[in-house]
Subunit: 200 residues, 2 copies
DNA sequence: CCTACCGATCGGTAGG
DNA sequence: CCTACCGATCGGTAGG
């Protein structure tokens, strides 16, 4: 009898695929390689999945779900814009850090999906990034953030967050909360010490 | 008679490969696809190159050369650490922006090289990133930068820079100098306006 | 979950 | 730069 703590074969397939995909990329990972890692014959995989792409889809959309869920769990009413951006960043990094392998697939291999899933994925991502965009816009309007290029700022924040999964490859799992906090602090206040700009 | 302005077939192969690799990735791009884009037969490619991987190598190592050359052209003696970091960032972004396609290959597909080139590449990259690391270390010691986690700060700066090539895909070529300056400004001083942290 | 096998495509070579 | 072709590997199916 299986409990919720028992990993189904399906879970094992997804988990192993996440590991192989992040290592060699989706296209360079063969079903034979995946099967051999699981100790079964390649054809046996198709008793559990319909296609290679279906694995990719399930990884990408599960990650998308987690990103949204984490943002939506933030008590936005209680926070000002600076605190809110801080919380956004911490939440986002938390999702990445507890899904190191899947994150790499999510960011690098989503483009190998085909329509209609590809279009749906793009639309989800746009919607998610829009939430950062909107927060920054509001914050700039009421003076919580500097009035700088909105689009540029949003892209910088997302880029800084979205490569964190590459920082700790092979190292022991870092404290996601701490990384999120450091990142938020750096992006909000910068790394410059004084502004005196003294020459050498 | 060919002048330095004439593109050799070799140049065309590399340039077309850069375009296809950035679009679909190295492993998902076939030699047949590359040949057809050039209007020749797949086998004809091998009159100019030895292997598919050789194309990848030439792209990655040319990019590495450009990154080093641009950093080394900075008049370091005349600048304080904040100005120097500013110059590092502008130079780095400049190289990415004038090599949009090759940059994508450089950052995403380098891992498909094999030894000995793979090891050599890793070592070059480590050496390059070390220059940022050293600059930050010096700057923290003499008070130009805040005393924050060195490794973390360095990774954040590199991440923010290294995804810029994805920001303007398909759009008209942006002003590299301006992007570099904006990025340096944001990383040095942050996006926070005041620090009063007033509640809503 | 296995054996047996499919057509398609891969990077690359021989020989001109 | 072409024609002709190689062995290897690909994702996936049939049938049990």
């Amino acid at each position: 009898m299986s409990t919720i703590l028992t990993k189904t074969r399906m879970d094992q397939i997804t988990e192993t695929a996440e590991m192989l995909f992040q290592e060699r990329g989706y296209t360079a990972t063969s079903m034979r390689h995946l099967a051999s890692e699981l100790g079964i014959e390649p054809a046996s995989l198709y008793a559990h999945i319909r296609s290679k792409e279906e694995i990719l889809q399930s990884i990408c959309f599960r990650m998308a779900d987690e990103f949204f869920a984490e943002l939506e769990a933030i008590p936005s009413e209680e926070l000002n814009d600076r605190e809110l951006l801080h919380a956004y960043i911490v939440s986002h990094v938390k999702v990445i850090m507890r899904n190191m392998n899947a994150s790499a697939v999510f960011f690098n291999d989503w483009k190998f999906m085909t329509d209609p899933e590809l279009s749906e994925f793009r639309s989800l991502r746009r919607r998610y990034e829009q939430m950062f965009y909107t927060l920054l816009e509001t914050g700039m309007q009421n003076g919580d953030f500097k009035l700088i290029d909105l689009n540029f700022t949003c892209k910088t924040i997302l880029s800084a967050m979205n490569l964190t999964h590459e920082w700790y490859k092979g190292e022991q799992l870092p404290d996601a909360n701490q990384i999120g906090k450091q990142l938020a602090e750096l992006l909000l206040n910068g790394i410059g010490g004084d502004n005196t700009n003294h020459k050498k």
